[in-house]
Subunit: 354 residues, 2 copies
Amino acid sequence: MNIYRYEENPLITPVDVKPHRDDFEVIGAFNAGVATYNSETLLLLRVAERPISTDPNIVKAPIFNPETKQLDIINLRRDDERYDFSDPRVIRNRTQGSSSFEYLTSISYVRIARSKDGHHFTIDDKPFVYPSTSLETFGIEDPRVTQIDDTYYIYFSGVSPAGIGECMVSTKDFVTVEHHGMIFHPDNKDVLIFPEKINGKYYALHRPSPKSIGDPEIWIAESDNLLYWGNHKHLLGLREGKWDSGRIGGGAVPFKTEKGWLELYHGATKDHRYCMGAVLLDLNDPTKIIARSEQPVMEPEADYEKKGFFGDVVFSCGVSVEGDIVKVYYGVADTSMACAELSVKEILDSLVYV
Amino acid sequence: MNIYRYEENPLITPVDVKPHRDDFEVIGAFNAGVATYNSETLLLLRVAERPISTDPNIVKAPIFNPETKQLDIINLRRDDERYDFSDPRVIRNRTQGSSSFEYLTSISYVRIARSKDGHHFTIDDKPFVYPSTSLETFGIEDPRVTQIDDTYYIYFSGVSPAGIGECMVSTKDFVTVEHHGMIFHPDNKDVLIFPEKINGKYYALHRPSPKSIGDPEIWIAESDNLLYWGNHKHLLGLREGKWDSGRIGGGAVPFKTEKGWLELYHGATKDHRYCMGAVLLDLNDPTKIIARSEQPVMEPEADYEKKGFFGDVVFSCGVSVEGDIVKVYYGVADTSMACAELSVKEILDSLVYV
């Protein structure tokens, strides 16, 4: 597989982003949704910020308060034995189950970066979509964008003590936003809406994380209005011993090829190394799998992919396709944004048909 | 609270039900949905059956095979240290997380019991709705029925290795059934569809069990066709130290009163004592809570409620309302069916308004 990583990588890093408050610092500008608007490439960045702590023994957890519309800051002592701070992203309560968390160490929102050449980006001064409801008090994460006609549907994980589900807004101008609430209930993330109706229905990939039984795997659902979803089917599972043995989920918004819908998904091992693979779905019935990657299409190799806030991660939320070239914008190490160009034909040729 | 438990309780027990296979035994006839059809009360029983094991060291796990349409039987040795058999309902793999299971010890399906007086039931000879898809290989559980015009919507937990989600079928005659697939993705159960549109939308209560963060609590969603659901909102939470501190979920199908929609829900402590409580929702906007039980409306007291396959459980999936009398049909001890009559007014008077 020929992978052309841009010389400018990483394209956007936290230092490029002005914090939205003076007492906060930006620790991530990553996992961006991708849109083309007015001949520009827009990256809808997930910006993660945390309150600046001057005391190394104090960990601060920011929480959006839906009543005051302000952030509340919780102060936790690092030597408080009730809490587990070993994962830099979350704070776990040792008295609860090992997989659940109690606070996040940062709050994420969506901010726009704009580019005429796809390499050099100018970042908006202010947040574009910010937490706004009781289902988003811990932030909104990993936005994806699906354009249908002149409307851009932007959807992301809404995180709160009630759970992690997928919320959606829409815009026609990247200024005014209409809110559509939570479209997939917890525990769910990594939703990807196909960009057109297929046989009269809209389709979306989604990734439940069930508690009772079942693994974090890719499902598919259908809709007739993009707001209400049903006929859920299990689509793609983990593979023991492979790069996608721990968890998988949708990555970039699926795009059409001659051979089928191509989805660049993420897969991680149980020790959290995130790679990118591909799955090809039937053009007329995306609940049917045609082919799948045996080996990753792309894996963390560059220094900026291996090191960062949470290293060894390549994670795409969107691509831009021009002929045989797919420009894969992707988050690296839960920290920054990068881009690589690949050949659609080479990806298709690399797949194993089922 | 005056509770009139029927003298005939339990109304239906496992010995009343003929197994659907000679090599199986019925261990439960419980958690039935309730419908009125042709002047008869129908109980849509959850019947649980297990393969008869003649060797006390062999535990048999039945699994529906969607390709052969037959059951496969897995044999596990009780002294196999990889497995935990301490919960009679499930078999856990000790190498996995403590909350997840690997097999069920029985397979459940839906069978109809019919009555002219609501006290004495005749049970159909054969299953009515049986597992039929790859999302139902471990069975279908806890059916509820919502009648809208002349159509009865029957929905239940579909259980499989992929997860527990809510599946739906519909019928007009309790003979022919139309399948609608999975309407709520895993992890979800205890769905209750309101019996009419409210301000132009259908509504349903549901109960996700999120893994990352959040508790097993009651949510509400909306729909315009009963098949696709969205605008998910968190509705009702656990209460520390009370009878509903461990898990809650919808119980009976909500019914209309002068004061609002009355939902009899189930709540359990962390040590699995299941009681019944009530919540009153706004007639014109069921996402608004008007009042809630402080104390249980009903709790396991009778011998048949306290002892059984899984004791200390009262669990209603449906009621029949006549004037001020609500006939609460309810599963007892995950084993049998019982009925109690309560006064709607007394329930409403017992609630604490928020």
